[in-house]
């Protein structure tokens, strides 16, 4: 096989193309993060470092040392390309440098734990919300469903319009402050140490219920609405009418014809919405002081800890890109019209 053929064969492979897309996302995002601060002509990071040094309250010596190291790598006296090269090299090694606020702790150590908390919370919440919402939407969009379902679900659907954190505030006030059923904040009880024991796990779950509820209740409606819309559209499709003409049973029509087809755009929507889910959860974490990425980001913003902010954003984008990639790659398993080879 000639080189051209090999390249062509690889490029037409669906998985490869989605992987390229994943790389593209990371590249564009990191370049944007690199360029945006430099648009003003100054280097705000250096400015901030010096500003913090002036304010005192942080370790003087450490900051000056940091500023020096920073100048060596990214100093404005260097050509842009060299700065960019150094920057990308660091990123690829996941070296985000030290935290400005907590010098000399590295950014990685700060981010490390948060990732697990956020990931756990969001994965569970998204899964529950997607599943329940899709089922609800499927039932709502099916003309033969009992009517009372409409009444139950309408209020939930309206919740979809409200951002997660508004719901979080309300839930805290009612259930934590007034009724005292759930803790007001934190990922686990104050003054306990994380350990792999049942009691700790229960404590974690207890703390996670309100934040999870905010996210699930507020995003459920979105899934339900989407699925309902798809089901309704499918009702008018030719193959549904033809299937009815075959005298098929309602259940078969519901599952094999309506739901099976409506689920496809739902899955695409899931891939696209991961960013939104994360965005919504940031403030929820802040409100609940949940020890996740969102909260760490918030603290970093308050402290102007630019390296942490940058590192976190990069991690988040990589994670989201990866999740999208995984969903993209499994999609052809659901939809026989999309094949792993182009034109196949």
């Amino acid at each position: 096989m000639s080189f051209r053929n090999i390249v062509a064969a690889v490029y037409t492979n669906y998985i490869f193309r989605r992987f390229l897309f994943f790389l593209l996302i990371i590249w564009i995002a990191s370049t944007a993060i690199f360029l945006i601060p430099r648009l003003s002509g100054q280097d705000p990071v250096k400015e901030k470092l010096l500003l913090e040094a002036q304010r005192g309250g942080h370790m003087q010596a450490g900051l000056e040392e940091m500023a020096a190291t920073y100048s060596k790598k990214f100093g404005l006296d260097k050509p842009l390309l060299v700065q960019y090269g150094n920057y990308m090299a660091d990123l690829l090694r996941f070296d985000f440098g030290p935290s400005i606020a907590y010098f000399p702790k590295s950014v990685n150590s700060l981010i490390g734990d948060s990732v697990i908390w956020t990931f756990g919370l969001l994965a569970v919440c998204t899964f529950i919300a997607f599943f329940v919402g899709t089922v609800a939407g499927a039932l709502l969009g099916w003309p033969k469903s009992p009517n009372f379902l409409q009444y139950i679900f309408m209020p939930i659907l309206t919740l979809a319009a409200i951002p997660y954190y508004l719901l979080a505030l309300v839930l805290i006030y009612i259930f934590a402050f007034n009724l005292d059923w759930f803790p007001l904040f934190g990922g686990y009880s104050v003054a306990t140490l994380p350990r792999w024991e049942l009691s700790f796990t229960i404590d974690v779950i207890h703390h996670a219920i309100l934040p999870a509820a905010s996210i699930v209740l507020a995003s459920l409606g979105f899934w339900a609405l989407g699925m309902r819309g798809m089901m309704v559209t499918n009702q008018g499709e030719d193959f549904m009418i033809a299937a009815e003409a075959k005298g098929l049973r309602s259940i078969r029509l519901f599952f094999n014809y309506a739901v099976r087809n409506a689920v496809l755009p739902q899955t695409t929507a899931l891939a696209l919405s991961l960013g939104t889910v994360f965005t919504g959860s940031v403030l929820v974490e802040v409100i609940f002081r949940y020890p996740g990425l969102g909260n760490t980001l918030y603290q970093a913003i308050k402290l102007n800890d630019f390296f942490v902010i940058r590192g976190m954003i990069f991690i988040v984008i990589v994670t989201l890109g990866l999740a999208t990639f995984i969903i993209d790659v499994t999609y052809p398993l659901l939809d026989p019209r999309v094949s792993y080879k182009r034109g196949g």
């Binding site: 499709e237 009418i241 005298g247 049973r249 019209r337």
Partner: protein, 337 residues
């Protein structure tokens, strides 16, 4: 393997009649008024005969086809009449009974332009699932071998290779998809086949093949077939009888040769005249005016309105000769002669 439920109502079977439609009405309720899409259509077809229904767009042909299978969807509703197959009025059955009648007694071959196959299911499953849902409870499920046999038999009968069973609809050409539709429609040996423009959107050569396949299977089953279409040439070659629809009403119905040679209703006359022929090179003659709007259509002769006349009296359905009926409106009867 497949079981059939013959709906027997205890009435004496109207001898030899495949389908008997009496005064069928389909209305749509709109905020601006009632649209009478099908306004009292009656015709009957003997078992094994072929009838075509023709007319302009908006004449109500497709609505009628759907109504025959009780597939009318909101905001439309069947507002009256009878559809009698094997002595049983289809419109009298409840939902579940009607479901069992579909595919079993009366089957649909959908429009050629439609995507009538489920895009995410393999062909073999689409051939089989209708059969599954019609089994009397207590029957055994088909074994793997039986399934393969049935599917193969159905595919071969419509001139498709058995390998098609493992394919998905998007891998098939238009003609192949229609053959699958025909295979599905004939899989339970129905008494009546309703074919709603089965070859529209197919190219001419494929059209011919598909129609031949359809005709062959219909003959083999001795089924009655109602063919909806607007391709008069196709109609002339395929059918025994033809019915002409206008504004939701049947204006003429009769043996195809007679209706084509000497049409008795002015609308039919104009329709035939407007057909281009290979021999006579003449001017294109259209039909003047626009097709009637079915909203709040006044009583009386719809065609008179088209040629800017009026006859508000109820028009009688008159037998001109054996098997040949027309709407007899004296006012416009001689138009276009």
């Amino acid at each position: 393997m497949t079981t059939k439920q013959k709906a027997s109502s205890g009435k004496s079977s109207t001898a030899g009649l495949g389908i008997d439609v009496k005064d069928l009405k389909v209305h749509y309720d709109t905020p601006d008024g009632v649209v009478k899409a099908v306004d009292g259509v009656s015709f009957s077809l003997r078992q094994g005969e072929r009838m075509a229904l023709v007319g302009e767009s908006g004449s109500g042909k497709s609505t009628l086809a759907m109504a025959l299978m009780r597939l009318t969807r909101a905001p439309g509703r069947i507002a009256g009449g009878q559809v009698i197959i094997d002595g049983q009025d289809m419109l009298d059955l409840d939902e579940e009974e009607m479901r069992l009648q579909r595919l079993n007694e009366v089957a649909l071959v959908p429009q050629g332009a439609m995507n009538s196959l489920n895009p995410v299911m393999k062909i073999k499953n689409q051939l089989l699932d209708g059969l599954y849902d019609h089994q009397i409870s207590g029957d055994q499920k088909m074994s793997k071998e039986e399934q393969i046999q049935v599917v193969e038999k159905l595919l071969v009968a419509v001139d498709l290779a058995p390998g098609v069973a493992e394919m998905y609809p998007h891998e098939l050409s238009g003609g192949m998809k229609q053959r699958v539709a025909i295979a599905i429609a004939t899989s339970m040996e129905p008494r009546v086949i309703v074919a709603d423009e089965p070859t529209s959107a197919l190219d001419v050569v494929v059209q011919r093949n598909v129609m031949q396949t359809l005709g062959r299977l219909q003959k083999g089953l001795h089924a009655s077939i109602i063919l909806i279409g607007h391709d008069m040439g196709l109609v002339a070659q395929f059918s025994d009888h033809v019915g002409v629809m206008y504004a939701g009403r049947l204006v003429e119905v009769g043996p195809v040769k007679t209706v084509f040679k000497s049409p008795k209703h002015p609308y039919t006359r104009l329709l035939i005249k407007s057909l281009p022929t290979l021999s006579n090179k003449k001017e294109f003659i259209g039909i003047p005016g626009l097709p009637a709007t079915l909203l709040n259509l006044p009583e009386g002769c719809a065609f008179c309105l088209r040629i800017e006349k009026s006859n508000p009296n109820p028009i009688p359905w008159v037998k001109v000769e054996k098997d040949h009926f027309i709407q007899d409106c004296k006012n416009c009867a001689n138009y276009g002669k």
